[in-house]
Symmetry: D2
Subunit: 125 residues, 4 copies
């Protein structure tokens, strides 16, 4: 039954997990942001030598490994959010609204975003 | 009313957002994993020159910026999960169970993990 | 005249640059490793929405921006190496020898490396 | 004898290494930028749970592992530069000159840079 699985409950379980092991001292926002970036790189590593097409057709065994990296990223993200007192879902919904204004459907449709802040080819979303 | 805010609803809204702009062609797992890693680095960048203590006492204006980066990471994480057909919450709860077995409270309590795969000082969680 | 441009001279100039500004306190290996990862992500960001083919045919203006990101990565890499007392060139030549034994031409030729430590599709080099 | 070890020679050897294995098809700038970011994260991972002080006093065994990660970053950086036709040392010396104008000693001395592009606490260098 999936209903019981919420990001808030994950955040609570991760907090209890860390508290039980007295890891609070290691879980500064600085360290957790590093750990999150490391896990995001491990997730990306699965795709680095694949063609875009291959990346969209992973064998089941590889997909299971990718799922574990996605799990690590989410776990560190909710832990960092918890330590900072930030609600990640509220922040994400608010950001989506900002993006919706920033990239009106009419202008963005079907086209890669050419302009960007910092001159980089940044895609909205 | 926060109740309506779930990771599944965020995933649906992000999908609609991308579909409305016909960005599907850009959203290969390979590209989304890159975008996720880039956003994780932008989040980390806020902490790179801070002491651990400073990172735990952000001024309100900086915290608002950090919240937006957390939002970007979560948005790309749910989008990548959606494209791959992976349930990020199920994966995270499963990973927590694995970690609980891997790092029994008695052994892990209060101590940084010394051993690690790849010889790196990897912290569980 | 390019002859005078060596990685050792770059390392000396970066050290003088940091010393003149009394930035030594900020340049712990931990902080420099974070800064290096952030710059590597900024470099990667230029390629995140491009096809592999587009990434190999950058317009001149984009290539100039990429060159600046490559510069940032190299500057932080030589600074981190300097602070740690590691010779990056010696380390790189030593690593190439290790890789040459690890990936004999006969076996590696023309094929993406399938096996990997950590189950990820890791390419040698 | 260290004299023979230059970044140009490293670039030549890496090119021969990749050519001998016919890895050119994998070495698009997009893929190499990903691999570089992954290696930068592996380097950073060594420091993620250390205090700034611990990161400056690595045991010899850990320092050897860090040296290998520095090697991987440099190898991918010179390979990416080679594929793009960018001279990394020239780019780095040019960037240092830009930074010297941007952060005059008088203003930057002893103080962390407060302002930043993108509102992040960005350190010059």
């Amino acid at each position: 039954m999936r209903g019981g699985r919420t990001i808030e409950r994950l955040q609570d379980e991760v907090r209890r997990f860390a508290d039980a092991r007295a890891w609070g001292e290691f879980h500064t926002p600085k360290n957790l942001a590093m750990a999150l970036a490391v896990e995001a790189a491990e997730l990306m590593e699965h795709f680095q030598w694949l063609t875009p097409g291959e990346s969209a057709a992973l064998p089941a065994s590889r997909k299971r490994e990718v799922a574990q990296e996605i799990a690590d990223v989410l776990i560190y993200l909710v832990r960092l959010s918890d330590v900072l007192g930030i609600d990640p879902l509220s922040a994400a919904f608010a950001k989506l609204s900002v993006n919706a204004r920033k990239y009106p459907v009419a202008r963005a449709r079907g086209s890669a975003v050419k302009y960007s802040r910092r001159g980089r080819g940044r895609h909205p979303l």
